[in-house]
Symmetry: D2
């Protein structure tokens, strides 16, 4: 009896210590075609420009949130803390690199060339020399980036415009034609610019979406509850810096923002096909109906709107499937319908946008059973 | 019809911008006795020592989480980023001060004197000169703090000890008797040291609980879901620096950690009394029973265990009341019970600890109805 | 040592049992004027008509969710489970009553007179005899209710109408003039009928909002995360059935739906005044500015839009305050402004609607400091 | 301009209607060996005995929560609502069957034979006649079930025992030897009986875990946040009633309770192997280290404790991997270690219990790279 009391007292005076172990929450968006789907954030800041965190925080956040590649892009021309923090924007790369290597995060050298509108701010990635980007005019700065074979895109095009609606100035045309504006942020932080999306389609600019985070990430995003920063999906041949650059130059990207995917029909449809599982054979004979389970294996919700169906077939017009959920999909075939052995029903996915006003077109493909 | 289409197109190209507005989530723990209950975190770091955020982040976090006073306490002897960040630990106070003033947060000047165990780390608050704290020995450093009339407490006493169980060395006795160890962290970050709590009671050391946060706060605590950092409740005459100091010196504090309150019976009982609302008159005559609603107005859950009741009364033995919730409490009086007109039922609140192994004693007080 | 092992083995074979204790989450909406603000749901179903739960579940749910009064209102004409469940709709009242009494929930006798549109469905409350409500025509049924001095309102007026937009038929005019339509559901379940709200204003019909729940409540509402059913706030002299009836007849109600409050300016403004705490004295002299903390003590978020301010004063135009949160509100007074000693700034609360398109008008009242 | 105003007014009077669409949240626990992993709840009640919901609710809940098979098992001897609900316990099966078919849920005929302890309550599944189970003694009742070739298991063995610790009476031995007790609930609702688990191992009883739910499911479980009822995983050849029965009779089950999996080493290890993805080739040469990503594709967290490793290898001793998360796992090989080309490191998974006090033994298998 005494022993038990003794144990109890010992127990009372033991320290209670909780060690929080870091884990990475993987983003379930499938690889497509012959590419790896790399989750990338190409625009962020630290205390080395006007950000509020130490560079290693950006790597920790990215790893924890399931990202594959990031670029820390300090303002070339703006370091408000320079009274206290060394005025060398290459330092955030140097400080973050060892941790990025240990965590398996690709760290892209980058900087934000920060000029008045027009033409506004531009990110230069895959640079080699930060010191030469500070030319007297934006032209010299961007030329210096180009001379390093940088990949350059226009940041938050609605910045400082009325109602944040972007304006395409002649300066942008010039940069575009000189190959100094290869992509455009259609999403920056929580802002989405449909007009920029339309421009990107019209001019074949690479689609970019980034966090442009300055504060700690959890401060602005409810990460623990599945909220996520805007990211660029890069469809790369391999998980290497070279492959990321090649994919950006070739325009093989999509933007993942809130519950939306923005990109080309080809890529969005491929993601859809690899994400939705169902039995293609479960199709009724004329006069009968069948129920098929549609199972969404991805982290992306899908909102369906019917666009086309064979004559004599009845099926749901509007429905959605949340991540890792399934729904029952009922198909009825009219008694006197003449269906081919293989047929399809077309839907538009309302949150997979292949243009500002256009959902991704997808097909549910079925085979009729013979009997 | 055309107008509508036009409108639709305009709408499509409008930018979608979300502006996150900061709000402060107030902590509902009542003022007690003649004091204001100030919510304080007296131990935290920024990039000016080994922390990972800019000093203003500490103010924003504190304001958002409902705190009233904080001390940023950089390590005097340890600045791993000094290659990049200016080697002057008073800067975090200077940088944070304007925002603290704007937000109404009391900002206490402080530093962490960081020596090997024994005696380990000590926080010196209300200091005036950071530069003199870096003496060759801990004795000189703490003397320099004392010379400034600093308030000094022992940090995370289990640090570097086996199983984090603290050891009280002769050095601590000496500092204690010299008035250079006025308080002790019984909670640091997520670690609770019951043994330190017992020492604090035995030696009348002020109870302190702090976050010692280095990373962004949301990274370690699920703030949005009501998770909270460990804080020191300071029962101060006014919301001023002087009053905070006077309360610390007098030992008028309690520690709020996880769902626990650690402190003297007097203060915890007062918090209980101001938090629990119920009708004292709803009491049955002999042979009858009555149900009383117990309504917990505070953010603190309360776990009740029965300790004493009048003869002839039946009532619940164990129950809990979550924040802003109520429960129905049924009292039955035996047929032949002889109850005084006013009586009470005693409970121990299992998560309000007045010693490592002792719940706060509280009374539910009732008046019998005459008829 | 052996003892410890023994203890360990015993521990291993102990059963792990979790007893879930019920708690009531109180709704923090203040009493106003000389009335108690009773939280009421006046429309719900059980297995005794076409609902899916036993009657006691409705009481448990209501108690747990902080309600004060409910009416279980089975369909008079529709009991799809009558093959298995007794065909007597008064039974749900009889079965629920003992639990309602034990929990302190006011249980109102009621039924839903369920006819084709027009005139559709009507709830009759405070009835005494369920058996006579099944007359051959709706006129006879409603007359039978009226003969019992029932309180009668029109349910979900958009039911079965195109796009759920309600239509007021001549039948409704007739019932209205006969005093057989004293109120109208402007919210039913998750549907809000702005047109019905306008009618209620124009015809002085009592505003009603109910859950009309058939399934278990948690199935449709995320109760644990603060989601709540639509309810009718009844401003009653006392918490009694008579007082609820008097308030309904007099039109002293408001509707609480999602994050919106729908009702008369008088009641909504009173709720606002009792919910928002701030220091009225903190006002700057000309040429200065001051920051006031606005603290929302209620469970209702508040979205402010500026409508009127004195000349020479600058203040925020749009902001919101979430439940139990505070914001800092900055007022600047121009150098040469001539402000009276006491003045106010007017806002419209966008989620407190006094008409379908009109926010509640509120004033922030301040006194200038003399010096 | 007028058009816009008109549109605005129209918009204001439109009804706001939210239609909640049902979705099924799939449970990600893999199929193993040559079996399908069916998620089953074999014990639940409705208003046809002492439950609180209509039978279809049990099917809706099961479908929504990702279950494959259920049994509604009303008490044969106890129908407290029989004054109002028809006294025929086969009705809950009949009422639920059409919906179960439509949803693709296997509905098993069952009943709970409800006698005093000993021997307590038993569930009989796959019965054909409910009427004959009500014999005067438990022996007759269980014999009547056996005569129908029922599958029979002992429910909540700790029921009505001191501290809910089960007692095995001679009656249980008798039933066991007569083949009338083929399985045992080691988990019922939120209660886990380690002693029953040990008995099941010793006597080769099939492991069963069920909800025994009476109330609406969301009332007791926070389903929306990933909380789940206790279920029996049945490793069946096909998703048919026959296969479920065969698997139960053969003992091919495991129990999924809170974050724990209880079952035979063979099945738990197979689930582990199909759930954890990692690259087996990433192994360092002597004197080097390598980091491997361990990615948990399942809904089951995994808590690892090291049990065995090759000499000369350093690796993490304790860590966990949450569902759909990955961790980085670092292996270091001593300079002079002599490792075979293929080797393994053994862990015990602390929340996969193959006995009350024994974690599932698993191996991380690696191949050394040749160079």
């Amino acid at each position: 009896m005494k022993k038990v009391i003794l144990l109890f007292i010992c127990f009372l005076l033991l320290s209670f210590v909780v060690i929080a172990q870091q884990q990475r929450h993987e983003i379930t968006i499938p690889d497509i075609l012959e590419y790896k789907t790399l989750k990338c954030d190409l625009h962020m800041h630290t205390v080395f420009s006007d950000g509020l965190v130490w560079p290693t925080v950006r790597v920790d956040e990215a790893w924890r949130e399931g990202l594959d590649a990031i670029a820390i892009t300090e303002h070339v021309e703006y370091q408000p803390w320079k009274e206290d923090v060394q005025n060398d924007i290459s330092r955030s790369y140097a400080i973050a690199k060892p941790l990025a290597d240990a965590k398996g995060i690709l760290l892209i050298k980058g900087a934000e060339i920060t000029r008045a509108m027009p033409p506004g701010h531009f990110n230069a990635l895959f640079i080699t020399d930060w010191d030469v980007l500070n030319g007297p005019t934006y032209k010299e700065a961007l030329q210096a980036a180009k001379d390093q074979d940088a990949y350059i895109f226009w940041n938050h095009p609605g910045w400082q415009q009325k109602d944040e609606i972007p304006i395409w100035y002649k300066e942008h045309s010039e940069l575009y034609h000189q190959g100094k504006m290869q992509g455009i942020e259609i999403v920056n932080e929580r802002s989405y610019y449909p007009l920029a999306y339309q421009w990107a389609i019209d001019s074949n600019l690479t689609l970019i979406g980034n966090s442009d985070i300055h504060a700690p990430m959890d401060y602005d995003f409810d990460i623990r509850r599945g909220d996520h920063r805007a990211i660029t999906l890069v469809f790369a041949k391999e998980k290497t810096l070279e492959s990321v650059k090649e994919a950006l130059e070739t325009g093989r990207t999509a933007v993942y923002y809130e519950d939306m995917l923005l990109g080309k029909q080809e890529y969005l449809e491929a993601i859809f096909k690899k994400s939705l599982f169902y039995d293609h054979d479960l199709i009724p004979s004329p006069g009968e109906s069948a129920t098929v389970k549609l199972y969404n294996h991805s982290d992306l919700p899908m909102r369906f709107s019917l666009t086309q169906k064979p004559e004599g077939v009845k099926c749901p017009a509007d429905f959605k499937i949340d991540p890792h959920c399934s729904v029952l999909y009922k198909i009825s075939v009219d008694k006197d319908a003449e269906l081919p052995e293989e047929f399809f029903i077309s839907y538009s996915i309302g949150n997979f946008l292949t243009a500002p006003d256009k959902g991704c077109e997808v097909k549910l493909v079925f085979k009729r059973r013979n009997n």
